[in-house]
Amino acid sequence: MGKVLEGPGMELFNKWGIYTPRHFVISTTDQFESLLQSNVWMRESKLVVKAHEALGSRMKLGLVKINLDADGAKKAADEILGRDIDGLIISQVIISEMIVHEEEFYLAVTSTREGAEILMAKFGGIEVEENWEQVKRTFVEVGDKPTDEQLEECAKSAGFGGELVEKMRKFSHRLFEAYDNEDGSYMEINPLIVNPADGKLCALDAVILLDNDARYRHPDWNFSFASEFGRAYTEDEKAIMEIDSRVKGSVKLIEIPGGKVALLPAGGGASVFYSDAVINLGGTIANYSEYSGDPPAWAVEALTDKVCSLPGIEHIIVGGAIANFTDVKATFTGIIAGFRKAKEEGKLDNVKIWVRRGGPNEAVGLESMRKLAEEGFDIHVYDRYTPLTDIARFALKGEDN
């Protein structure tokens, strides 16, 4: 899945006939000046300026400013651009037309196993969370389209009446088309409002999750996906994502500042059990990582390098189940090369390494890990006869426990 930021998200909406406020994404105030020259609406309307980054709680952080005239908007953009939020420098703001409205609605399409659900509510904003049970839903089977009757019925049951029923039908049809044709996983408009100027429904916000695996059939997706966890990706995370995108198999990294136990396990399944084990024992994890699908040794080495660079770590867990086809010897060659480099750079002083693994060439792979002890590594190596997550307990509670 991939999250699309508001700017490109609105472009995607517009492509499918979904009406949004006029807006621009800019990265310098000079751009603001030139846009102001050529866009009358920017001078005639009140404006909203928001940081255009994958950040949660933008309002709380003072990264959303409303009800501004052109000068005020320029000043707000100037203030927001370049701000440092926990190491993330705001590089873009979105400037949009502020539409003063009375009522707020809610409209979403979400993917389910059998197809999709269209969700409607005659309330919007934070009221949606509070009244989740009153949000009305209608189901569309995969491969089908919603019928007019079904949409109108849903709108009526959600409390829409009069002209709004037809407007909701048309609007939700468009949102469904956007979802269906763009390989959406989730599309949400909150708030959806009526623009008093023209009486049309208008999407004031765009929450869009697309299916990253479908990217190959959407050559017009000219945006990269934003982080989904309320902060932007770090440089190291981006470097590993870039490697992941071009190698056989996969390598993954998410940093979690403050953790003491670094994870370097194999497999999308086992890696989460290692995370669970550390936390269950009262430990804190410094990252989530995983390599699988027999990735090349150099990619595993690059991942190792990043994991060893996590600040303040005390343990590294090189765990893994018994691999089906990932070559233990080959992937360990990459990890060992990464360890040697990190040790030379002093990154492994006072760091204990815990290894447990099985699979093709396990004997040779584990032996080469054991030999690292001769080079002065504080390394503890176990084979398949030690249960999967026991090394997490050894690390946190000692090998006798």
């Binding site: 996983s185 497999g267 399944g269 086992a270 989460v272 269950n280 189940a321 086809f325 249960p387």
Partner: protein, 609 residues
């Protein structure tokens, strides 16, 4: 018994390289279980009509490759199962082709990165067609002792260690491929092993869900308990819980759900498989799933570490109630081993092989080639030169610097002799006919023989004969040659003479003297020349003869000596080829006036008799 696949499963594999390597693993399993190989055919249009060689024990089986599933099942009507290894962008179509084929009853899809919408359409369509499709992103399915679909189970030794060569009492369903293998190992350690293990894949929408497989396990009397390994996200585990509690079930259910770490992590941060994402309103969390499963009567240990002892407890209970028995296994030594590769057997010292031939100069079995024992890179780093390498490869000796210098000068002098000589002309004619470099140079090289550049070896041979048998008797040597051999090789030139000496020869002699090298053969040949030029002034020591003597004096064996001409002149021939290419040389045809057409005049062809 087992579910989904057994010894009657006959498989078509769709896809290229990955499919073939999976087939290799499947053949290992068939061999271990002493079953015939389960794969009947491949579907891979680029290689249709060919066969793929699959090792089964010590045999190589040729498995045919077809254009379509229809073609495969028409030729192998026993085929009932399809494995999909096709790339994500074509996998949907491939799966539909398999599902719509009336022979195919079960499809397992290994392909990763399949768009969600495609997976959902496969859910709908497989239901409509009444067939099971496992995956996407599935590691495969394994029914112990019966059938392996895909690489599930890992390498050969693991198949033995996890006792996958015979059925046990436990069914396994996991999303994760690596964990499927881990659980099979656990079940072999703490209980009696598995009946069938299914990897459903870690995608958001696995086409076949847990309950479908639970239903099948419930009907399989050999399966006494089922382990499901789930993860946060989706609702497959909740559905499994509902299935388990909605009526009394024969099988015991053990559950394990990952993703508790999510509770203490920053909001929205998600890990693991694509499907591992918690719902917006808390649904699908590891805790919620665990509680649901426990509430439905399933046994769910607190941590993964407790899973082994839990399995053991369930197995003990099954034994106590007579549902399971201790299985006496054959010692591993009585299970077939994969045939070892010849290299391994020789290394182990179990067999002696008569070598095909002997080589004494180079060895590239190590990190880098050794020339008579010297690493090539070390020769370079210590400043050695081409003549030293030549000395090692041709004469197995490292020449000293003076010797190396003379070898270098010989190569320089013999590098080329203009475009008109036989060798260069051969190369040029070929180059102008559009022939490639190596063939054109070969066309020049084949001219080297007794009359052109090939006198070096013979000259060495006979001057050496003279030096040994007629050391102080040049006329005696010449008489011997005239009587037994003919003209002395290395003596005489088409155009050069005493008055018009060959400067190359003069330079070579000067070099030898200047470097102070020992020169018995050269001195003997010069003595011979003094006599022959007395008879005719073009009977001089030519460049072949001179090279022959100098190199023989350096200790090169006479068989090697034509090589100096071949090597040196190759430089010239390559140059001529490049020259013709660069200059766009056109096809050469001899002018008629260069040929004496001494032919029979035109006449009538008689009738055939």
């Amino acid at each position: 018994m087992s579910i989904v696949c057994d010894e009657n499963s006959k498989v078509v594999i769709m896809g290229g390289v990955a499919g073939v390597s999976a087939a290799m693993r499947m053949a290992e399993f068939s061999y271990l279980c002493k079953l015939p190989f389960s794969v009947t055919s491949f579907v891979y249009p680029p290689d249709a009509g060919k066969t793929a060689e699959i090792q089964y024990g010590s045999q190589f089986l040729s498995i045919p490759i077809y254009k379509s599933v229809g073609e495969a099942t028409a030729n192998h009507p026993e085929t009932n199962t399809a494995l999909v290894y096709i790339g994500a962008n074509r996998a949907y179509k491939g799966c539909m082709e398999a599902l719509e084929n009336e022979k195919i009853q079960f499809v397992s899809m290994i392909t990763e990165g399949v768009p969600e919408k495609d997976a959902k359409l496969l859910i709908k369509n497989s239901k409509k067609l009444g067939k099971l499709l496992n995956g996407p992103s599935s590691i495969g399915v394994l029914s112990a002792g019966k059938c392996r679909l895909g690489v599930i189970g890992g390498e050969y030794n693991n198949l033995k260690l996890s006792k996958l060569f015979r059925p046990g009492s436990f069914g396994v369903i996991t999303k994760s491929g690596g964990l499927s293998n881990e659980i099979m190992w656990l079940v072999s350690q703490f209980a009696d092993g598995v009946t069938t293990t299914i990897g459903v894949g870690g995608d958001t929408y696995p086409v076949t869900d847990f309950t479908t497989y639970l239903d099948l396990f419930e009907k399989d009397s050999d399966t006494k308990a089922v382990i499901i390994v789930g993860e946060m996200g989706g609702n497959l585990e909740e559905e499994a819980a509902t299935w388990y509690e909605e009526k009394p079930r024969r099988i015991k259910l053990i559950g394990m759900v990952s993703g508790f770490c999510q509770e203490t992590l920053p909001k929205g941060m998600k890990f693991g498989h694509a499907g591992a994402k918690e719902g917006k309103h808390g649904e699908g969390s590891a805790r919620a799933k665990t509680e649901r499963l426990r509430g439905a009567g399933a046994i769910v240990p607190d941590t993964f570490g407790d899973l082994g002892p839990t399995i053991k407890q369930v197995y003990e209970d099954l034994k106590a109630t007579g549902q399971a028995k201790e299985i006496k296994d054959l010692p591993f030594s009585e299970l077939p081993d994969l045939p070892r590769k010849v290299e391994e057997v020789i290394k182990a010292g179990d067999v002696m092989v008569q070598p095909l031939f002997k080589s004494t100069i180079t060895d590239d079995r190590g990190e880098e080639p050794l020339y008579c024992g010297y690493p090539a890179s070390e020769l370079i780093s210590k400043g050695y030169d081409i003549p030293h390498v030549l000395g090692l490869l041709w004469n197995k000796k490292l020449p000293n610097d003076k010797e190396a210098e003379i070898i270098k000068r010989i190569l320089m002098l013999a590098a080329d002799h203009g475009p008109c000589v036989s060798g260069a002309l051969g190369t040029i004619m070929a180059a102008c006919a559009g022939i490639g470099m190596s063939q054109s140079v070969a066309a020049g090289l084949i001219m080297i023989g007794p009359r052109f550049g090939g006198a070096v070896t013979d000259a060495s041979k006979y001057f050496n004969y003279g030096l040994v048998h007629y050391p102080n008797d040049i006329p005696g040597f010449l008489t011997h040659m005239k009587k037994n051999v003919g003209p002395v090789p290395g003596i005489g030139h088409r155009v050069k003479s005493l008055k018009n000496p060959d400067k190359r020869v003069q330079e070579l002699i000067r070099s030898v003297k200047e470097l102070g090298l020992r020169s018995p053969h050269l001195d003997y040949a010069l003595a011979v020349e003094a006599v022959t030029t007395g008879k005719k002034d073009n009977l001089i020591l030519n460049v072949d003869g001179c090279m022959a003597c100098v190199l023989t004096d350096l200790g090169f064996p006479h068989q090697s000596l034509n090589g100096f001409f071949v090597l040196a002149r190759t430089m010239g021939m390559i140059g001529h080829w490049i020259d013709q290419k660069r200059e766009g040389g056109r096809l050469i045809r001899l002018y008629n006036y260069l040929v004496n057409f001494a032919v029979t005049p035109r006449r009538e062809v008689p009738d055939r008799k």
